[in-house]
Symmetry: D2
């Protein structure tokens, strides 16, 4: 693991997600930006002292040289470190599981893209919400035509943790780096959570956004990036959509929500109640499809661990990305490409996300003019 | 009553709303577009034969001449008739309670505006959703500063009854006229329901929309007006918003929903569950305020008829407009202006709605360019 | 109307319910227990002075003598007055619409039963919750076999308004009489709301309770009747059930809720969200049936006034009892018995309710021994 | 691990729960009832061949003899095996984490109790629902007096998976053993899930059930144990309650739900939406307390892994029992008793559960007579 030391939120999540199915062991790390902190964090996690590295470069080199070196690395640093770290491991044939968004800048993204394409290793991006069973089912139902041609997509991701200037005062490391353009990228809310919403909408519908018009705001005085964004979407093939993301919406904890409407029916899903998928075939009563329940399909069951009514949550959804990665890595050992990769976000999803973020900022700079992605 | 004969939906609603509090008696009508149907409908409602009129002009003239002539008229026709009918009664000092939107065209709206301003009678527009007790409370809480300065407004009104081409085949009178620009106006979904959403957002926040950018669609082949609209909003004072209205969203029955977020808190309300108002003061748990419950304020109680847990619905909300009208009319008899008029939508709300509809169409025609209202 | 003067809750509800469909006019009343208050209340409601009576006896006599005398009377007094008042009108051929429970005592109930059976007039009891459209549909679905043989019935009615000793201090008239055995009867919560729950369970399932075991409590010091009751039910044919009613359950406003499970499926309904009926055919996803929606059947539509998504509430459900009464009265004028009477609670439901209340108290007095009803 | 081979449900759950926090490694097992299946299952889980044992006796002996022998064992067999297996390990000082209920019979329970009391090892029972963060918070709030004296407890646990005779036909191993009195015990639904409901009610309120009256049913023809139970509860100190458990309630997946009402407030929690706790202080609006949200207390935070809005589920709740066990075991190594043991169900909870099950059956056999526990 690169990153994920003390004060980190997402590192701990990755560690649990990797552990749930018993497919990964954490054996080495460059967990912090200073050698000392890196060693302390490693010790706290039970890593051997000689596998707590001062930097990702050192780690990549040393691990590649070991007989028992790591087979895959999780990169859970702030965004501006993703590209450099990933390249170091990919170049040595070590598989990379990287947090989203892809990078902090488009230049970094393109640089990383070249490295991924040249590498003899997998690159998986943890757009973790795609791992939820009912999201997999939604994608499958739409692909099967249950909704007919898609007309309207409503996606939103609302939070409230940046309602006040939490990045000031030095108390909140998460707020600090996520509102710092140098570490996070040009997008604030659009980068941190809007990119998840965009990814989810595309993953579920199978459609790409063609054009968008974005109105970004930075409501909190002194904030250097957007903390709220309103985006109009036009998809390939004629579907239209709206995307709202916000970090200043009091009462919203982690309100990622997707609604898709087609000629024949509608679907609705909310991340905070992820075991439920609402499906209305036009002209019939709404149905509550539950993970593990009578309406669950193979797409959901394949990534479920418990029966209906035994709720799975965020960590299990995240773990499905890791479980998929493990499956793909096992196939790669034998020179095969596992079809699970069709379900796992990777470089292309990452590039699409970067184009989305960049297009939002560009559109907003031009007073919400349409921008082609 | 003008309009509201057989096959009408909203006429029956107005009649019940007028009756609930026992403030109005229905005694005369020009209920249909043909004399014969008008008489039949009147008879079915128990009107005296000599007060079933062939036209609103005939009715206005005759009723104005009677000693026991009507004191107020409800106009519940398709939109293109509103202006002519209202003018006929206003000119004779008869109060008008008119269905929304104000008229079918901006020209009609301006014409009617002159008549209203010149008249010695009240003009009330049934933007009925403003009559819900928890909406009144939401407005009051925001005015009292419970949310601080407003930042973000999310409003939507989604239905599914026009998912297919219901206007074709002659079976569905409602679908027919509501998708006919000559009777309904240039707006389809934006006129029929988007105008309600716009009105509700403004009523609750106390803010006006300054600029908008609208992307209108007509998804159903052959449809002559929009059936889905995505609108970016910029309010006076810096608040931003999104408005979505749709008649092609399977699974949405009458999904009017409003969320408002400010510096200090957030509110959420949904028309289909109107007795609940969700309030989150930033940094504190979400609270479920219920009509008639411990968190209900005077603004809600003033328009409630039953204790908490005894749900009131659409008809009671609608009846609150009528009850307010009755109160205002009683004051008018004595030459007074009742302060309830501050809560009742009238000409100004109607004009704002027409400008909203017209701006949506204009913006969409220019590929969603910003339009100043 | 008898009863329903100032400080009354249910009188105002009856008046609105009677008015919603325009079938009844309120023209006479003995509205309070003193002549003066009765006159004041009558004047406030716009009754003619000569039709504001000092007592129900006076009213029954005078109205029966008038050419334009009342055709039906609503009795909305405390329970101990029901029998006397109803007898006075029934004896003169005036139809009676009476609030529940039937009477305060079993003796009064039997006395009234004789009068009803002897009378040439209808007797309708406002177990108003049976008037909700989705309750009518639930009954219909069960009768049609959609659930198969019924196995389990869970019914509850929880409130919190008597959590403290509201009956003390003289401020709360409702609390005062409803906790006074002389006026309310031997049952406190079981009489006031448990009887509704019992009635609803029987109405929907079509089953009668055969035996029960009741554990009644009076939690608030000084309270003279039960304020919480736990009851085991055994129905004819083998179904089993539980009934909980409480007036001391903080957070419960008017929580009447029914769940029925059979060999083939389950149903769930909650009074506070009355437009929804949840139906699960065993082995299939749960369906949300909505009043006016795609899953609504004729039984619901027959008593609906608005389309799906335009919520109807407590007053409309109540009004359906009045509308049914009007229909039955019109048939009675012509000597016919209208089949709507099969859906309207009357004497038999009232007697069943009295036996239920009495059995609960008797069982609880014997430490929750089984009591045959 | 003892038990948990192929076809087992709860074994896989225990393994994930043990793994989530990285505190346990699975290194040995007697996973099935036959040596061969035990070895196959062990191999599938990656156990060394010499640590796949044919029986728990063999395993206990061998592991106790190894230098690197197991420190704790998870027993996840059918109930009738619990006592024998647990005794084998306890006798050798190996800590036991055992699935519920304690045993199949009261004799076995008392036998095991003696062994636990004599042992120099911990005994933890996986009444896993006590591990949910908001359940820990509910317990804490009640202990702190937020509800005042408890009056009413409503607890239910409804499922539908045994609506039909799933135990027949040999296809459903879970249904087979759970409805077999020899393996499961005298209780069917009361043993399998009623015991969870009982445990949860006692854990949260801090009260013990003093007397109960139970009406057990076996609705499915041929079923050898109860599949539905209605139970009246009387708690120490005067609180009253109802417990419903069912395996024949179509539409209920895993509907464990608890409501507690006291003099000053009410709480409500549902296992299928476990991140929410509803709290109503009497006379104030209902509050939605969320795990990780503004209303979460230290009791919840101590067992949370993710921020609010990132839902945790069944496996994390289960894992909290394992995490607590790990903490207690680490203290035990140093001869200390960790206070976390006050929160972990153990022998006493297990015995209380056995007395509950036995009392339910005994009461029901006497036609729901009161039975003192």
């Amino acid at each position: 693991m690169v990153g994920g030391g003390k004060d980190a939120f997402i590192g701990a999540v990755h560690r649990i997600a990797a552990r749930i199915d018993g497919e990964f062991d954490l054996v080495a790390g460059a967990l912090s930006s200073t050698p000392e902190r890196s060693r302390d964090s490693g010790a706290a996690l039970g890593l051997a002292a000689d596998r707590c590295y001062a930097s990702y470069d050192e780690m990549a080199e040393a691990e590649a040289a070991r007989q028992d070196g790591i087979e895959a690395v999780a990169i859970v640093t702030p965004n501006h470190v993703h590209a450099g770290a990933a390249k170091a491991f990919l170049a040595r044939g070590i598989h990379v599981i990287c947090d989203k968004p892809l990078t902090a800048t488009m230049d970094q993204a393109e640089d990383l893209a070249r490295a991924v394409r040249a590498a003899d290793a997998l690159f998986i991006l943890t757009h973790n919400y795609t791992g939820y069973p009912m999201i997999r089912q939604a994608r499958d139902m739409i692909a099967a035509g249950d909704l007919g041609a898609i007309r309207v997509v409503q996606v939103e991701y609302a939070q409230d943790w940046l309602t006040e200037a939490a990045e000031q005062g030095g108390q909140n490391k998460q707020a600090e780096w996520r509102t710092d353009p140098a570490r996070s990228g040009v997008g604030g809310s659009v980068g941190d959570i809007g990119s998840h919403a965009h990814n989810l909408a595309c993953f579920v519908t199978g459609l790409e956004v063609e054009k968008l018009s974005a109105d970004l705001q930075s409501f909190v005085p002194g904030r250097r990036v957007d903390d709220n964004a309103h985006v109009l979407l036009r998809f390939q093939g004629g579907a239209r959509g709206m995307l709202w993301c916000s970090q200043v919406a009091p009462g919203c904890e982690n309100g990622l929500r997707l609604r898709v409407f087609g000629e024949k029916g509608g679907l609705e899903w909310a991340q905070e109640d992820p075991n439920y998928l609402w499906f209305t075939p036009f002209g019939a009563p709404k149905r509550l499809l539950t993970r593990g329940g009578a309406g669950a399909t193979a797409a959901a069951s394949a990534v479920s661990r418990t029966p209906g009514g035994h709720p799975e949550g965020y960590l299990e959804g995240f773990a499905n990305i890791y479980a998929g990665a493990a499956q793909a890595i096992r196939a790669a050992r034998q020179g095969r490409r596992d079809p699970v990769l069709d379900l796992l976000p990777g470089l292309e999803a990452g590039l699409a996300g970067m184009r989305f973020i960049e297009a939002c900022v560009r559109s907003s700079d031009k007073d919400a003019a349409w921008v082609t992605i």
